[in-house]
């Protein structure tokens, strides 16, 4: 009786495991950010992340990130990291710039698995970090193959 209950219990709990991950846990997203910034304090200005507030399909979402920076030899953006808090893998894409980039503006197209907040973390030449974010609602396309 005990063995049977345990077996049923174990089967049920296995059955309830999600078959595919669609979410990072909050910790994983936090860890991804920490790996980028270490223990540094992240300032929340100078970085503007543009993602459409309503996304028709999360497979290809146009994104623009612009960092307010003079882009001179002494003051430029070294890197911009995009982190999606709600994706199964939070690291999305990283861009590495130089002072000679002229402008700290980059565009790309990313995948978003759910409605979520997306972060853009800019690493400056002086070692400081700035962050911007965008909230977006991701919807599913109508009438698909599944």
């Amino acid at each position: 009786m005990n063995t049977r209950r345990r077996f049923i219990g174990m089967s049920l709990s296995v059955g309830l495991l999600p078959l595919t991950r669609t979410h990072a846990s909050e910790e994983e997203a936090q860890l991804a950010v920490e790996k980028i910034v270490g223990k540094a304090f992240v300032k929340s200005n100078r970085v503007k992340l543009d993602i459409p507030p309503l996304v028709e399909n999360g497979n290809l979402v146009p994104m623009t990130v612009a960092v307010d920076s003079p882009m001179t030899a002494n003051d430029f953006v070294k890197a911009i990291h995009i982190v999606a808090e709600g994706n199964p893998l939070p690291n999305i894409i990283s861009f590495y710039l130089r002072a000679r980039s002229g402008r700290a503006t980059v565009q790309s197209r990313i995948r978003l698995s759910n409605s979520q907040r997306v972060l853009a973390i800019a690493e400056m030449s002086d070692g400081s970090f700035h962050q911007g974010f965008a909230n977006t609602l991701v919807t599913l396309s109508a009438c698909t193959e599944v």
Partner: protein, 261 residues
């Protein structure tokens, strides 16, 4: 009032009536049809409109390369018979599917017929890279041209059969195409706007598929969406439905390659 004055007055009143009703007449004649391009977000519209952002660019280039590829014992290519596609394929995709020797034929089937008959190549399947590259390349040559459906009695029989399917409830959800795409076009289904469903952009790069795909693939998705057994690729039914959709969209401009969510 004299006869002359009354006649003149009647003429003036008639003129006034015509003048006042003129805008209404003009509005009735205005085409209320619109491409689903108009319903997309500006970002996705930009993806379609910019040739160097449109992912379909790769299929266009593949199609262009395939057009000149030589095959068979006589080393022929599409170009051997059809020359410069930009000239000879103008308007071609805008008139498919069409009756060829009594058989309703899709563009995909026409491409296969040409390649198997003249280039000694095997058939390619409906959503294969080769089929999509060639149909995208050919259909792109019709960009900006109006959809034209021949109105012969035989062709219209196919169109009318397609219309019956369009208006027929189907699937576990028991919905017809018309209920969403005629009666509820412009309203929302979840987060998506319901389009009028005109096939102006095919083959399309569908974000959902992360690839190019044909109208037939999209129609099968619709049928799966209402939980109906989808028509098979290359089946008579699916081509008749295509024929009706093209007739329904006659005169609208081809915008291939389209990008859709």
């Amino acid at each position: 009032m004299s006869l002359a004055i009354r006649s003149t007055l009647r003429l003036w009143l008639l003129g006034l009536a015509v003048l006042l009703s003129w805008p209404a007449c003009a509005q009735q004649a205005k085409d209320s049809r619109q491409s689903s391009y108009e319903l997309m977000t500006p970002e996705i519209q930009a993806m379609q409109a910019n040739p160097d952002s449109n992912p379909a660019a790769f299929w266009l280039l593949d199609g262009q390369a395939l057009w000149s590829e030589q095959h068979g014992s006589e080393r022929k290519s599409c170009a051997s018979c059809h020359g410069d596609a930009a000239k000879t394929m103008k308007g071609v995709a805008a008139s498919f599917p069409k009756l060829q020797r009594g058989r309703l034929t899709s563009l995909e089937e026409q491409v296969n017929q040409c390649r198997t008959t003249h280039l000694e190549l095997p058939s390619v399947s409906h959503e294969s890279k080769t089929s999509l590259a060639l149909t995208t390349y050919i259909a792109a040559q019709s960009k900006g041209m109006p959809i034209q459906v021949e109105a012969t009695p035989a062709a219209m029989t196919q169109v009318e059969t397609g219309r019956l399917m369009f208006e027929q409830r189907m699937g576990q959800l028991n919905l017809s195409c018309a209920q969403c795409h005629d009666q509820r076009a412009g309203l929302k289904l979840g987060g998506s706007s319901i389009p009028q469903a005109h096939p102006t952009g095919y083959p399309i790069y569908r974000l959902e598929w992360q690839s190019m795909g044909s109208l037939e693939r999209r129609l099968r998705n619709c049928m799966i969406g209402v939980r109906a057994e989808p028509f098979a690729f290359d089946s008579t039914e699916i081509k008749q439905l295509e024929a009706f959709l093209m007739w329904r969209a006659r005169g609208m401009l081809i915008e291939t390659p389209g990008v859709r969510p």
